[in-house]
Assembly symmetry: C2
Homo-oligomer: 119 residues x 2
Amino acid sequence: MNHHSNVVCLCPLDGIIETIGKKWTMLLVNEIGNHGSLRYNNLLEELKGISPSTLASMLKELQKEGIISREAFNEIPPRVEYTLTKRGKELRIAIIPLLKWATKKGNFKMHCNCSLLKK
Amino acid sequence: MNHHSNVVCLCPLDGIIETIGKKWTMLLVNEIGNHGSLRYNNLLEELKGISPSTLASMLKELQKEGIISREAFNEIPPRVEYTLTKRGKELRIAIIPLLKWATKKGNFKMHCNCSLLKK
DNA sequence: CGGTATCCCTTCGGATACTG
DNA sequence: CAGTATCCGAAGGGATACCG
C-alpha cells in the first residue's frame, strides 16, 4: 500500500510552532524584513500596541531561534540594530503560501501593498 | 523607488494566526488529513494528551474557520465524523514550506515517514 | 537609548466527573 | 459515543515605573 504518498508529519514543527504562533512573532519578523534593520524604539512604534517587556522577550526568543540577530554599536547615545538572519529571511519566504491561503478566505479584502500576494 | 518589490504584509493572517498557532491545531488538521476522517474518540486517542474539553473547543473553532466539517449520523450508538474541508486540505499543503524550513534547523533529525519532506 | 522589574489580568489548556 | 461542566494552574502579554 502506498497511502504514505500524501501523509504529512509535523515533527519538524516541534517547538518552533510555539514561537511562530505567538502574537507578535510574524509581525516582528516581517517588520524587520521589510525595513532591512530596525532599532528597539523603532519597533516599539511600528508594532503599535506592543509593550516594552513583551518586545524585549520576543527579541530574545527570536535570537535564540536564530531568526534575528542583534548588533550593538558603541556610541553615545547607544544604538542597537536588529536584522533578519539568513534563516529569518527564509522563514519570511516560507510563510507566503500560508498568506496566500489566508487571503483566499471569502470575505478577505486586500488592503495592503504586497507584491508577493498580487497573483 | 521600487522597494515594494519584496515587501510582505501580514494582514491576511489577522485572526487566523491565533488559531493556527494554538498547540493542537496543526496536529489535529494533520491527523484528520492523514486518516481521511476521524471520530471524536479516535482523535482523543491519537492526539495523545489532549483533554476532552480542549478537543471539543478546538473542533468548534476549526469548524468556525471552515477548516474541518462535522457530520453526525443518526445511529445508535451515535457516530460523528470529522473531515477536512477543501480549505482545510489546502491549509495542509500551504504549511509544507514551513515544515521544510523547520526541517533545515541544524540539529533536526527526521524520524518521521513523510514523503512530502523527503527532498 | 535600550532595555528591566513589578504587577496584574486574560486566555489556554489539563483533570475529572458527569450527561443526552 | 460524543461531548459538557467545573475547577484549576501555568503561560502570554499589557501598563507602568524605573535603570545603566
